[in-house]
Symmetry: C2
Subunit: 229 residues, 2 copies
């Protein structure tokens, strides 16, 4: 079965004259075998649009999502968790299913980069705190900086991945990085530190992702882009 | 009108034999004049119980909540934001209503304690980034440490506040601190640093709250308690 990454929504962040912002995050669907994974949920008012989109774009209902990964715990990323009761929820380094919290063997004060906290293999099977394996298609890894406990989702396959842009255009590729606000958008070099709790750490997390050589990066508040060498 | 604080749920955190945890957070309702404020929402599976409780305890529906404050962005605190579409949402230092993000004039890397990011006055009026005023009943202040952007809710009034425990018992008091995971529970001195991103900062935030001399502290994962001098 072909692995598929679908841009459900392109995130945005526009300054308003009042000093406030018009803002919501990127939402991405990943389909591996028969497992459906949502990366970030948008703010609490994104629900109706989100449910409509996963229906239109992938023929899915909320109940069909079995893993939700929120890259971090900011309000524009976690607002719609309640819509996905059948899913395991990962929010930053938290992993839970109903009342059960899974241990990741990571201390909150451990700010290391690229600790793998969950994987999905080629058969769509989720493992918590599994080490990296060659047959793994999706990894949730620690990429701290924007907050102390941010994570990114790396999708890779030797088989081609179909990447479906928000407008429905498709491309095939082997490596997709869905990074939340590790990047605000393409060409954010001048301002991403303004939104960072720990900019030195975030710079290192960004370098790590670039070294992984993704074909495409999906940032938190802008269109997907191909990183320049 | 009498100000009222209602313990909708007492949070818990129990270790399981597997190394995982059975865990969910305290949920508190504050009523000031005709304004209804919810502090923390629980994990995403708390919704049905939460809606039932605010109905039973206060005769309210979800639509009647006009401010939700999540003390920080961990999954067991933010899970039910989508149930309160009429409310302004505060999650740590994020403040938003629909797509609009309000500026707090705080940088993410500013880890100061007791910056006031929102207030509710005696008439129930919400102000964003207002300074402390004598007629203010509720303040949302920065108390970082557990995460870099945690907040606490301080409720105070020269008129008595009715504090209604989870079992329905009532007491009257003048100062209530609802602190999220700044305290995990009473007598957590031996283990709260294990759950802290920045324990030195969290220790300072705890001292600040104690110096404010609350009659009761509502912790993230245990019953309300009266701090010892």
């Amino acid at each position: 079965m072909v692995n598929r990454v679908v841009q459900i929504r392109i995130g945005r962040a526009n300054s308003l004259d009042t000093g406030d912002a018009d803002c919501d995050c990127s939402i991405t669907l990943v389909q591996i075998a028969s497992t459906n994974i949502l990366v970030d949920t948008g703010g609490a008012w994104a629900g109706a649009e989100l449910v409509q989109s996963i229906g239109d774009r992938a023929g899915l209902e909320s109940k069909d999502i079995s893993l939700v990964v929120c890259t971090h715990g900011h309000s524009d990323h976690v607002g719609c968790l309640a819509l996905f009761p059948n899913a395991t929820h990962i929010v930053g380094r938290d992993i839970n299913l109903r009342e059960k919290y899974f241990s990741t063997n990571l201390r909150p004060q451990d700010q290391s980069i690229n600790k793998c906290i969950a994987t999905v293999d080629a058969h769509g099977k989720l493992k918590i705190t599994a080490p990296f394996m060659n047959d793994v298609v999706l990894q949730v890894i620690t990429t701290p900086g924007h907050t102390g406990s941010c994570v990114s989702v790396l999708v890779q396959s030797n088989e081609e991945i179909v990447f479906e842009y928000n407008d429905g255009a498709c491309a095939t590729m082997n490596k997709v990085a869905i990074v939340g606000d590790l990047w605000e958008c393409e060409n954010d070099d001048d301002f991403w530190p303004d939104y960072s709790e720990m900019s030195t750490l975030q710079r290192q997390s960004r370098s790590f992702v670039l070294k992984w050589k993704p074909d495409v990066i999906v940032p938190g508040h802008g269109p997907a882009f191909t990183p320049v060498e």
